[in-house]
């Protein structure tokens, strides 16, 4: 891990592979959070614990 990182040149952007991985991971987590169903609440009428307020 102590050897210098590999750098990618994408146009005028020069980014290290580790930083790129961090950014891609962030975007991936965000998209996954948008799409993944949240346990128990996708069918509100079927949730026995729902209370109208």
């Amino acid at each position: 891990m102590d050897t210098p990182a590999t750098y990618l040149e994408l146009g005028f952007i020069v980014i290290s592979v580790p930083n790129l991985l961090v950014i891609l991971t962030m975007v991936g987590i965000f998209i996954a959070a948008l799409l993944a169903p949240f346990p128990g609440h996708h069918a509100i009428e079927e949730d026995g614990d729902v209370r109208p307020e």
Partner: protein, 235 residues
Amino acid sequence: MSAPSSTPATTSVPGPADTTWAGAVRRFLERNLPLTHLLPSRQPFFVGSWVYIFGVVAITSLVWVVGSGIVLASFGPGWWHIEAMGRFVNSMHFWSVQLLFLFTALHLWGQYFMASWRDGRAPTWIVGVLVFLIALVTGFTGYVSQQNFDAQWIAINAKDGINATGAGSFFNVLDFGQMYGLHVAVLPATVAVALAIHVMLVRIRGVVKPIEPPAPKDAAAQATSGSGTAKGGKA
């Protein structure tokens, strides 16, 4: 005006007005942040999205940052360079900082696209950005406190930008003592206070409601109770 449902018996005793400061604070809390709102057991059902966990994950990352930081501070700034356990604790500190900023950014994106500042929640947004900014400065003071090549590099290269603002006369990035003191004491406390205010504001107002679909141009449809307003609607 209805009395709060959780009023303890001692506050409903009639008699001379309570002019104590303690009483004023207590009434403020009862009016604005009763325990049922600070620690509710239920949420509006639309909070059923993974996007809502980014904030709490950022907070728990901060818990790990502070916890590992307390251990590092307890053994002094030189410990992690010479002891394997110190290096491990420093690694916990390093990666929890990475997670903190990662999930803070995700939380920012989520709240932005939910326009969570609506309905009187602009102060919550503003304080949230301030927490982020203070955390950035805290991280910076940490980087220049490492006492290694990275710290030397960042201090020497950052000084010109900071000096250009005039802040360099008060905030000397080359002064390890000052940077370390800010990093382990002053700034973590500031982050904690700002974060507490941010979380309290969220709990005082409750989660913002979903963005309403635009009203249809058909006035007749608008006259109904709203069953048609969201039909096939797009933002």
